[in-house]
Structures are given as structure tokens and as C-alpha cells.
């Protein structure tokens, strides 16, 4: 299968007064045309930095490795090439729809902007923008076109942000926590809207989220990140059915399920993600892990294949598997 997006060994370092800090440490990721991939992890695990690094939106960071879109290298690419890719081939949706919209520009101008930048005539851009807003469920789109962001509700604003991301019909949509800032009731609506619009336009989607709960019905493949590293990846059924990494299992256990009745509170993983500057040696997860071996404290586990397309970076999971094969 030819991949649409190929990320190889992506590393992102930020300079701080106390020296460089590696925020992303060797990420591998692929997205095929039309595929839905979920990038999952708690906040602070480096998901959002990944999204911005792909688009070259981190001017102050040092980004190394390779990000290819249809074979076109984006790391270190010229500003001109990046501008052709941004908006046009890759659309981006941020978490907070309020801060994502320019408060002093009308909704309409902001939605039309990706088209106007590419020389589409204003009347044409306006028509397409109104059509798209209407398609995305903005009622009275034509009348509300010249309203300002503060006149829209949170859910409506996020529809506008999605419209901005998809209006130039990109091949890939990167949605960074698209529903997190929204009302629970609206979350499902916005997610299914994303699902529909992506299907209609045969867009690939990289869904970045901390919430495994929204992944199941949406994505085909899941990549789990922890403290700037990839810890597990595989098809959605594999991850939900046979997760190997203790972190993934912890995340899964924290997802409320309709088919199980929980007694009391949902289990959570104790502690929190270390900051990149204080990432522990060895497996970054070991201080929070319930089943550690000596190697966890000293060696970074490699991402090793478990089953078809299912890979895990965990000493315990790997050793366990080896013992099983030896017997």
C-alpha cells in the first residue's frame, strides 16, 4: 500500500535555558489515503507537538527525522512548499474553537481564507464556504456569514474550524483534540460530522486525542504515545482486544463502557506524565507501571512487532512473549 503520510524517526527538541529538551523522541507513523489513524496519549505526551511538527509549525523547535507527504519531504522543506501543503493538502483542527478563531475577523472571511490565499475568486469562495458551513450544520449559513466568532456557540465555532480545515479539500485532516473543549452532548455530534465529511471527501484523518473512548468507532488504527515516545500501535481491534502495553491497558481501563457496569469509580493510572525535561531513564512509563523488571529502569524498550501490524515497546510484554514461545 502506498502511504499518504509517512513519519520516520521524528524528533523534536526545544531549547530551554537549561539546555535542549526532547519532546518527541523517534516517532514512526504512517497514514494511508483515506485511512483513519488515532494518536492517543495523555496530555503532555507530545501529541499536539507531533501535529504541528508535521506541518512545520514549530519555528522555534529543532525538528529532525522525516515527514513525507506523497513522497514529498516536509522536514526542512522551503516555506513555499510548506505553504502549498498547509491547508491545501493537510487541514488542521485545534482543540479550543474559541482561541482557534480570530476574534476580529468575520466567520466568513476566515472560512474563505484558505481559498482566497490560493487565488479562488471571492464570489466563488463565498459560495463554497456557505455551502460547506450549511453542510456542517451551521443554520442560516449565508446570514451568519458576516458574524464574528463570539456570536457563535462553542459547538458552532468548532464546525467553523472544521470548515476552515476542509474547505480546500485536503487529503489529510489532522484533528487535534477536536471535541475536548466541547460539551459532552456536542462532542458526539461534532465527531460524527468529522466522520461523515471525511468519508464524503475521502480524506484521511489523523485524530489526536487523550480519550480512547472516541477512538473505537472512528479510527482503523491506533498509535499510543507516552512521554514523547510511541509505546504501542496496531489495528483498532487489536488494541482494544489485545493491548500489550500496561499504559494502553491503563488507558483502556479508564474508558467508561456501556456493556459493563462499573462499581464505583473508574480505575485510573496513578501519577502523571513526566515533563520531557524529567523523563526517567529506561522505559519512561516505569515509575507508574505495576509490573516492572530491571531492564525497565535502564533500557528504552524497542518497538517490536507482536502480531500482524501490532507493535509494542515494553520489556515485560516482550519477555513474556519470548517465554511463551520457548515453552
Amino acid at each position: 500500500m502506498t502511504e499518504l503520510l509517512t513519519v520516520r524517526d521524528l524528533r523534536v527538541d526545544f531549547d530551554t535555558p537549561s539546555g535542549p529538551v526532547r519532546v518527541i523522541d523517534g516517532l514512526d507513523l504512517t497514514v494511508a489515503p483515506g485511512e483513519r489513524v488515532a494518536l492517543v496519549g495523555e496530555s503532555g505526551s507530545g501529541k499536539s507537538v507531533t501535529a504541528q511538527a508535521i506541518l512545520g509549525l514549530l519555528p522555534t523547535a529543532r525538528v529532525t527525522g522525516s515527514v513525507r507527504l506523497d513522497g514529498q519531504e516536509l522536514v526542512g522543506a522551503s516555506r513555499r512548499i510548506l505553504r502549498q501543503v498547509r491547508g491545501n493538502r493537510i487541514g488542521l483542527v485545534f482543540q479550543d474553537p474559541l482561541s482557534s478563531l480570530n476574534p476580529v475577523m468575520t466567520i466568513g472571511r476566515q472560512v474563505m481564507e484558505p481559498l482566497l490565499i490560493r487565488g479562488v475568486r471571492r464570489a466563488e469562495a463565498r459560495r463554497r464556504a456557505i455551502d460547506l458551513l450549511a453542510r456542517l450544520g451551521v443554520r442560516d449559513a449565508a446570514r451568519r456569514f458576516d458574524d464574528y466568532p463570539h456570536q457563535f456557540s462553542g459547538g458552532m465555532r468548532q464546525r467553523v474550524v472544521i470548515a476552515i480545515a476542509v474547505i480546500a479539500e485536503p487529503d489529510l485532516l489532522i484533528a487535534d483534540e477536536p471535541t475536548t473543549a466541547l460539551d459532552v452532548r456536542i462532542q458526539a455530534q461534532v465527531l460524527s460530522l468529522l466522520d461523515e465529511i471525511a468519508a464524503e471527501r475521502r480524506m484521511a484523518v489523523l485524530l489526536i486525542t487523550h480519550d480512547l473512548g472516541i477512538v473505537a468507532g472512528f479510527a482503523q488504527r491506533v498509535v499510543v504515545m507516552y512521554a514523547g515516545r510511541e509505546v504501542e500501535q496496531g489495528p483498532v481491534d487489536e488494541i482494544f482486544g489485545r493491548a500489550r502495553h500496561p499504559y494502553t491497558r491503563g488507558l483502556l481501563a479508564a474508558v467508561p463502557r456501556i456493556d459493563e457496569r462499573h462499581q464505583g469509580r473508574l480505575p485510573t493510572i496513578g501519577g502523571q506524565v513526566p515533563t520531557p525535561a524529567q523523563r526517567p531513564d529506561g522505559c519512561a512509563f516505569h515509575p507508574r507501571c505495576s509490573s516492572t523488571v530491571d531492564a525497565c529502569r535502564s533500557e528504552v524498550p524497542l518497538l517490536l512487532p507482536r502480531a500482524a501490524a501490532h507493535r509494542v515497546a515494553c520489556h515485560v510484554a516482550t519477555r513474556h512473549a519470548e517465554q511463551v514461545t520457548e515453552v
Binding site: 531549547d15 499536539s48 507537538v49 504541528q52 522555534t60 487535534d176 487523550h210
Partner: protein, 291 residues
């Protein structure tokens, strides 16, 4: 940023930070200290008598004998600038001191005196802050009769509302701090509470504002003298020095240029020191690259 994507460590551009700023700030501290020193010892180290007229020495260009040249009356400009440092700085100091005292008293009164007192004082501040200090001071000084004293009094009377408002805010903030509650709970008297706890904790911010105001006051004071409502001839006040030379600029640029440069240099130095203090006082500005 969406989510907290970036580590909670303050980020700095990967390009090396320009160090020129730090260097400038250090130089500014030295210059400001030097200006204050000159204000204290200036008249004693002046090579010539700053007030002695020598008409045969009129408008001599800068030389080894007269570093800054001589003015139309043959007086040594360098000596006059040295002597003028005391006049200008003392006037500035008095303006700020008086304005600060009025501001602290009225600001504290507004913060503690109940709604009506607060409302009246703050509306007066609004009125005061609604006008350029320069023009009000000009009118007041003209009314009192042009002299440096008039200018100083007039400026002090127009400068305090800024301090009053600042002190009011600071006192209100401090009053809500926990340690003040603690002090109150052990039965400390109101007066003691204010003088021992509330005011001292408000002063840091006030100092920063005062330092930043030094340059502004110097500029206005010298401006008033230049216009003729401040220091009168033969005073060596810096603005008066510039005014005295203005009719002879073409024959003696140094009489105007060098005293004016002294004003500018002093203002720059105090501004930079004030900025430095502000950054120190407010850690959140540390890496913002502001100021």
C-alpha cells in the same frame, strides 16, 4: 496552544539570544549611578565656575580647556552641565517624593476609607490622569509666577494621581493576602496592620514605577524650564541651558547639543534601570523578551 503541547519549561528561540540587551542594562546602571554621583559632587569637581561670565570667552568651541565649549556669556558649558545635574535631579527628586507622599496617603485612604471616599478620590484621579501633566503644570507654574519652585510644585500637584491609583490597587490586593488575614486574626490594630504589613508589601511595585518615572519627570521639568516657566537664568538647570543656547545654535551648537545629550543620556539610563527592575519584580516578564 491546543492542549498543553509544549513542555512547561520556558522556551527560548534556538537562535542565540542577543546579549546586547544585558550589556546595555549594565551600562545603564553605571550611567545612572554616575549621574547621581555628579549631582552630589558636580559643583566641586567642575573645572570652572559654572556661573562666572567672561564675555571675551564667548562661544568658544569644545577644546581641551573647555570640553563642552563656552556659552554666549563665556561660561564653561561642561561645568554648567555638571552643576545642572544637581538642579535637575533635585527638582525631579522633589517632584517624585512629594507626588509619592500624596499618592501613598490618598491611595491608602481610598483603599481603606470606604466607598464614598474611594469614589471621590478616584474621580479626582480620573480628572488628573485625563490631562497631560505638562500642560496643567504649565498653567499652574505660570499662575504661581515662573520659577523652578513653581514648576516643581505644579508638577508634583499634577503627578500624584498615578501613584494614588497604583497604591490603592496594591493596598487592596495586599489586604486580601493570607498573611494579612493572619495578622488581623491575632488582633493587630488597623494602623499597625497598614504600616507594618500592607504598605511595605506594596512598595516594591511602587519603586519600579518611581524609577520608570524619573526619566519622564526629568523631561517635563527641563521642558518647563525650556519654555520659560521653570528654572530662570542664570540657573544651570539642563532645560534652561538648552533654552539659553537656542538663539545661537548656528554659532554654537555645543551650547544646545551637549546639555540636551546629558538629559537624553540620563533619561535613557533611568528608563533602562526601571525596565530591569520591572522584569526582576515581575518574574513572568523574564523570558517574554518584552520591554
Amino acid at each position: 496552544m491546543a492542549a498543553p503541547p509544549v513542555p512547561p519549561v520556558p522556551l527560548v528561540s534556538r537562535r542565540r539570544r542577543l546579549r546586547v540587551g544585558d550589556w546595555l542594562e549594565r551600562a545603564a546602571v553605571v550611567v545612572a549611578a554616575l549621574v547621581i554621583l555628579v549631582a552630589v559632587v558636580g559643583p566641586f569637581v567642575a573645572p570652572h565656575d559654572p556661573y562666572r561670565v567672561a564675555l571675551d570667552q564667548s562661544l568658544q568651541p569644545p577644546s581641551a580647556e573647555h570640553w563642552f565649549g563656552t556659552d554666549a556669556d563665556g561660561r564653561d558649558v561642561f561645568s554648567r552641565v555638571l552643576a545642572g545635574a544637581r538642579v535637575t535631579l533635585l527638582a525631579t527628586f522633589v517632584v517624585i517624593a512629594v507626588a509619592t507622599v500624596i499618592g501613598v496617603v490618598l491611595g491608602t485612604a481610598a483603599a481603606l476609607g470606604g466607598r464614598i471616599v474611594d469614589e471621590i478620590l478616584m474621580r479626582i484621579c480620573d480628572i488628573g490622569l485625563s490631562f497631560p501633566a505638562m500642560i496643567l503644570a504649565l498653567g499652574l507654574a505660570a499662575a504661581m509666577g515662573p520659577s523652578l519652585e513653581s514648576a516643581v510644585i505644579a508638577l508634583a500637584l499634577t503627578w500624584w494621581p498615578g501613584y494614588a491609583r497604583l497604591v490603592r490597587t496594591l493596598v487592596r490586593e495586599t489586604l486580601h493576602a493570607e498573611y494579612v488575614d493572619a495578622a488581623r486574626s491575632i488582633g493587630m490594630s488597623r494602623w499597625r496592620l497598614i504600616t507594618r504589613h500592607v504598605l511595605p508589601n506594596s512598595l516594591d511595585t511602587l519603586y519600579v514605577q518611581i524609577t520608570l518615572d524619573v526619566a519622564a519627570v526629568i523631561l517635563v521639568i527641563s521642558g518647563l524650564s525650556f519654555v520659560g516657566v521653570g528654572a530662570q537664568p542664570p540657573s544651570a538647570e539642563w532645560g534652561a541651558l538648552v533654552a539659553a543656547g537656542r538663539n545661537n545654535v548656528v554659532n554654537g551648537w555645543w551650547v544646545v547639543a551637549l546639555p540636551g545629550a546629558a538629559i537624553a543620556l540620563t533619561a535613557i539610563a533611568f528608563n533602562l534601570v526601571g525596565d530591569r527592575l520591572r522584569v526582576r519584580n515581575d518574574p513572568t516578564l523574564g523570558n517574554g523578551g518584552k520591554a
